[in-house]
Amino acid sequence: MNAAIHITLAWHDWLNLFGHYLLLSMMSLGGAISTTSEMHRFLVEQHGWLTQAQFNDSIALAQAAPGPNVLFVALMGWNVGMNAGSTTAAFLGVLVAMTGILLPSTIFTYLVAQWGHRNRELRAVRAFKQGMAPVVIALLLSTSWILASSAGADGTHWPLWLLALASCLVIWRTKLHLLWMLGLGALLGALGLI
């Protein structure tokens, strides 16, 4: 990306990075994005392995690109590796960061989900799953709101809000394929209309 820095990473630094992401994995309730402030402290402030711009770009790019948002972790690993001086290191960075952030949480979730599935008739398990339903809906609406606000933070961006509202209604009420709406949004944006 931009304004690269040059760092040297010894094998214990890689281990340190891996260990840090293993730890963050178990702390990432509500998604990896909730641990970004801790990643920032570790990567940018404490070790200086990433610049502020690289850190921000990693998140913004992963938000904009298709795929799960957790891929911003891969980009951070990639950039740390590039700063260390080679594409090989960059791939190692991706591997270390992604394995670290995913391994503990996926194993834990898999075991809990299997347990929940085996015991799905238990009153407590049913109560948990169904009792969370309104919270899930609240989180969806909040995510939508936060995403729309970050796209058009101030009032002058009302066309963006209008587009968000229109696509909400279309997706809610019709069976139109999502890609058509995304394509329309991209087109309107590229033409400078929103």
Binding site: S34, A65, N69, Q114, Q130, V135, L141
Partner: protein, 190 residues
């Protein structure tokens, strides 16, 4: 999963079907994949009902880790056990990972381009609308929920204000409102 579940509706035909379905929906997910999961797997493929989707997502959300990754793993595991979990995981991550690394390499060249920036902004706005639409659709799942409807509405409103507007830490919101919902559901279930 000791006893084979009874499937009275469509399910993934094979591991490769699972892999490509998840890859395909991951590639549609700009700004998050969750809305696409609901659209593709509940409405189009009908692998999950609204209720199952919302229940699985509640679990995926409350567990540590990226919630879409957790969710795809759980759905894969439901049909093919551990192999399914790993396949769904690979499906949702592999191709998008390659793509995003390519984008990172090209990023410096394209970031300054106003058309590209505009297109990304437009897609983000559509994604925002799309996620809200999923929330609205989940409404049908509440009708059969043991939590009384006025309580559901109160929890949704409180959750939206706390997370969306006040930016209250998510963990606390999940703990407080989640416990409230679970207690109400427990009392409603007999």
């Amino acid at each position: 999963m000791t006893s084979p579940p009874v499937f009275d509706r469509p399910r993934p035909a094979s591991l490769s079907d699972l892999f490509f379905s998840f890859t395909f929906l991951a590639l549609q997910g700009f700004g998050g994949v969750l809305a696409v999961v609901q659209r593709e797997l509940v409405e189009r493929k009908r692998w999950l009902s609204h209720e199952e989707f919302i229940e699985d997502w509640a679990v995926a959300q409350i567990m540590p880790g990226p919630n879409v990754v957790n969710l795809s793993m759980m759905i894969g595991a439901r049909y093919f056990g551990l192999r399914g979990a790993l396949t769904a995981l690979a499906g949702i991550l592999a191709v998008p990972l390659v793509l995003i690394l390519l984008l990172a390499v090209l990023h410096a060249r394209f970031a300054a381009n106003p058309q590209v920036a505009g297109a990304l902004r437009g897609m983000a706005a559509v994604s925002a609308g799309l996620i809200a639409a999923v929330g609205l659709k989940m409404w049908v799942a509440l009708k059969r929920n043991p939590v009384p409807l006025p309580w559901c509405l109160a929890i949704i409103a409180a959750g939206f204000v706390l997370v969306g507007l006040v930016k209250f830490p998510l963990g606390w919101v999940l703990l407080i409102l989640g416990s409230l919902g679970c207690v109400l559901a427990y009392r409603g279930l007999r």
